[in-house]
């Protein structure tokens, strides 16, 4: 079988872009051109410099990442709280949507607890990650509590006597007297 024909020039050019120009050329790049290649090369050169991580180091990093994930909901809380406070207690589309989100996000988060930590699981930190998960759940519950607080502020929680009035009945009189005047 005959050898394949040599690739055309444009293929060669594509595969081997011209070597990085020295920075000292003084000729600026054209507008809009970013020399990604150079950066990549720089990055790759750095990683290349770094020694491969050990398993413990990896676990530490994973744990750090896990903590970040666990504490993420609580970071939103001040913002949410301010928005909730600002939106008032009246029943409007905005506040209703806010309340909806305030309930939806924590509940979705709680349901996806395991998925959130799936990538960060490893044998070494199994015990610690459980604790992180617990913190994550607590934080979600905190966010949920904020929603409940908001709903309560809006008067939608049946916490008062008047909410249960409909199920209360008048006392049955044991005797009846018929007026005849």
């Amino acid at each position: 079988m005959a050898a394949p024909p040599p690739p055309p020039q444009w293929v060669i050019d594509l595969n081997s872009p011209p070597a990085t120009k020295p920075k000292s050329t003084g000729i600026p790049d054209p507008p809009g051109f970013t020399s990604t290649v150079g950066k990549k090369q720089q990055g790759s050169s750095k990683t290349a410099v770094r020694a491969p991580l050990t398993a413990t180091e990896m676990d530490t990093l994973k744990l750090k990442k896990a903590w970040e994930v666990a504490l993420a909901p609580v970071k939103q809380l001040p913002m949410t709280a301010i928005m909730m406070y600002m939106s008032g207690n009246s029943l409007q589309i905005f506040s209703i949507m806010m309340v909806g989100m305030a309930f939806k996000n924590p509940i979705m988060g709680l349901m996806a607890t395991n998925q959130a930590f799936e990538k960060l699981e490893s044998e070494g930190i199994k015990g610690k990650i459980t604790m992180v998960k617990a913190v994550y759940v607590a934080m979600q519950l905190l966010a949920l509590a904020l929603g409940v607080w908001k709903v309560n502020g809006m008067g939608l929680l049946p916490t008062t006597r008047s909410d249960w009035l409909a199920w209360e009945t008048a006392r049955d009189p044991l005797e009846i007297a018929i007026p005849a005047f």
Partner: protein
Amino acid sequence: MRLPINLLALTLSILPSTLAVFADEAYNTDYHHELLGLPQPHTTFFHRPRSDEKATLLYTLSDLGVLGAVHPGTGKVVWRHVLEGEGYLRPVEGEGTLVSGTGKSVQAWDGMSGRQLWGNSFAGQVKDVEVMETVAAGEGEKDILALFEEEGKAVLRRLKGGSGDVKWEYHDATEDLPFQVSTNVKDVFVVSLHGARGGYNVKVSILDPVTGKKINEYTLTTKGDVHAPEDVLLVGANSAAPIIAWTDKLMKNLKVNILGKSGNLQTLPLKESDGEIVKVTIHAPDLVQSLPHFLVHSHSAVSNRADVYHINIASGIINKEYELPKLPGKGALSTSSQDANVYFTRTTQDEVIIVSSASHGILGRWPVKVDKTHGSFVYGAAEVVHKGTDSYAVRSAILTSEEDWVMVRNGAEAWTRVEGLSGAVAAEWAEIPESEDLAKTLEAEAHSNPLSAYIHRCQRHINDLQYLPGYLQELPFRIIGSVFSTDIASHKAGVLVRDNFGFNKLAIVATQRGRVYGIDSGGHGAVVWSLKAFDIPTGKKWDVKGIWVDSSNGIATIRGADGEYILVQTVTGKATEKMEPGNWPSVQSAAVVDSPSGTWILPIGVDGNPGEVPAKWAPKENIVVQGKNGEVKGLKFDVQGSLAVPITVWTFQPPIGQKIIGVTSRPAHDPVASIGRVLADRTVLYKYLNPNIVLVTAVSEESATAIFYLLDSVSGDVLYSTTHDGVDTKQHITSAMSENWFVYSLWSDILPTTSGLLASKGYQIVVSELYESDVPNDRGPLGANSNSSSLEPTDVANAEPALPHVFSQTFLIPESISHMSVTKTGQGITVRQLLCTLTSSNSIVGIPRTILDPRRPVGRDPTAAEQEEGLFRYQPVIDFDPKMILTHKREVIGVKDVITAPALLESTSLVFAYGIDVFGTRVAPSAAFDILGKSFNKLSLVATVAALGVGVVVLGPMARKKQINARWQTA
């Protein structure tokens, strides 16, 4: 199911108080029978309100004391006034003025506008009123002669026609019964009855008209023929030769005296034709210029005939001129005079004839075409018009035996006024029993086994198919009607049908003359049927003590005071059972009670004693009655063998000096939607909802106080009491109670002794709300108990009853309230309205409960929380805004009572007021939230849907084609 109702109740209570009557509902949802009462024979006449015009109005002063003018062409009331009871009414010939004498006063009225020209009151009772004719015309207004009885003596006064001032007075020295006054221009005659009751002689005093001095006096011996004033048949007034006449005991002869001729007592024989004569009436003209002729109309049991007599003034001889032949049945005769001519109009069941008094030739004859349901003609007033040489026209307003006032114009019925409906004494609502069969069938199906029920249902549905073609035929009309018709509850006249909204109900009305009427509330108050229940003697009133409608079989039971009762079918008005008065013991009141044998109406005898009843019919519940001196008693039936004996459980007697004038209880149908009142902070004030409470009103005349006691009607405990000082106990003190509140109105004055709190003078309305506790979320001393007993409130022996916490507030109102009632709705969700009858403005006002809220903040604006509760700032005065007046422009006179009933729609309550007038409407106190208003344009809705449909049909193919094209062209 309870939750939405409560939420709705809360929402509705926040709604602002709405208008009582919308402009487009006036005259449409409401109906009004503008009534006068039965016209009396001597006070009903045609008269020209403007002497220079020919048009006449029909005037009457009825048995109820209503003076009114009726348009003879249409039968509509032109004007009317309520005077003090029966009396005398005379037209002033040639002046367009009327003079009435009722009670103690003589009043002159303008015939056209009904305005009072003057009025003058005296000490005695008016016994007769007569217009003093003058010899020469044009001497100014004619004077009035008014006969009074003062301390048993006759006093005659001549009053000036222009002002009513006294010209002269004549005092009779003897204690004779003043009877009548008459005049023949030359002299004035005072006729009085001399002697004792049972055998009167007739005394005639002749007075000088100028000075009022007695000229002569003579006595006619009656030989015991005159027992009572009613036995004197006629004292002809204002004719050239006034006469006085009476019959002997056997009605064989008529004794006639021409007034002023002392020795001249003539005896005219009464001819019997068909058995004994039972009634004799005399008809004579009332004009001085008329010929001195008169007619004697004699009735036997089956026929009637008449004789016409002429008086020779010079010789004083009375001659029989001719007679009107005997005709079967009853007939009405009436006199009308035109200048000197006197015409007699005879109306019998078959024909109307007019004859001149001078000769027996019949001047006009018309067959009578009058609805037979009016009954026979009793008496009437006629107007004969001489149109040409030989042509006459006659119209007569005749009262019939069925108490209708019929205008017969040349024999044809022109209009009818249901005057018998006036003077209603009791009324009750009745359902139209239409779907009863269906309800029973459904119930039967529910109780039988499923298979047979299914078969039965299939059979029923197959059977129902026969109505399908008719239904389908009617369907387009129904749809078109519902789209185009503005009337939401369209109603066919004369057909009693239940409607989907429950607006069509029957009101059963009993009148003081012993008649019962069925009135269709959906058909603009049309009289569906009427019935003569009992013959009530004149001067007495039928005292109805209770009406109970059994809707399951459509029977209304009406109980009277003399033990009489009648059972009437509510739809047809047929009496199914009847007990004449006097056969059973007297009845003080009646109550609908539940017994082992079913529900029935229990009569309570005098002194509040229901008597023994069979054990099977013993009421299960206690009964609250009023005793001999008005004290309130609680009774319980104790079964002893086959009888149940009433035992007094408790008696409430107010302190000495106080008199009980009224007792009010919660209505039988008084549903409560929410048992508490939700405050702004979502806490609950629990309502005190005891069904067994009565509000007793007592007054003390010496100390001018009104005391209100709230009693528990099972135990007799006083739950609450309050005292008002400076109350005028003569004025109306009325009260009403519903749910957890009661309200009363009275007239109160500022007392010099009152210090501290500011008092006000005037009519006041006081509203009080009862709560279980003043602390929110607290159910009071009974706590969470699911039932309550008035006898043993708690397990602790001899414990105090659970007392309600009362919030009260007083409002000033512009006028006196004579009666109060409360609207009723099916579930009690709708805010109630207080319906107050105003006597001085002849109207009914509906005050929303939101205004009458005792918790309204006083002296400050409400806080945001209070505003949320629907409270607004307290204003001491409730102005009766014209928008709150349910009767709007209508003048509803003499309202005695207002009854309400729930419609099927929760928003709506039916209102029916009766008394002299009958008025009905329906109210939606929280606005008609469950029905489309008239402003809802069904046509535009249908048109929009149709336009959209057309658009879809037209654009659909176009869009489809475009989509297909788009696909092919891109590909």
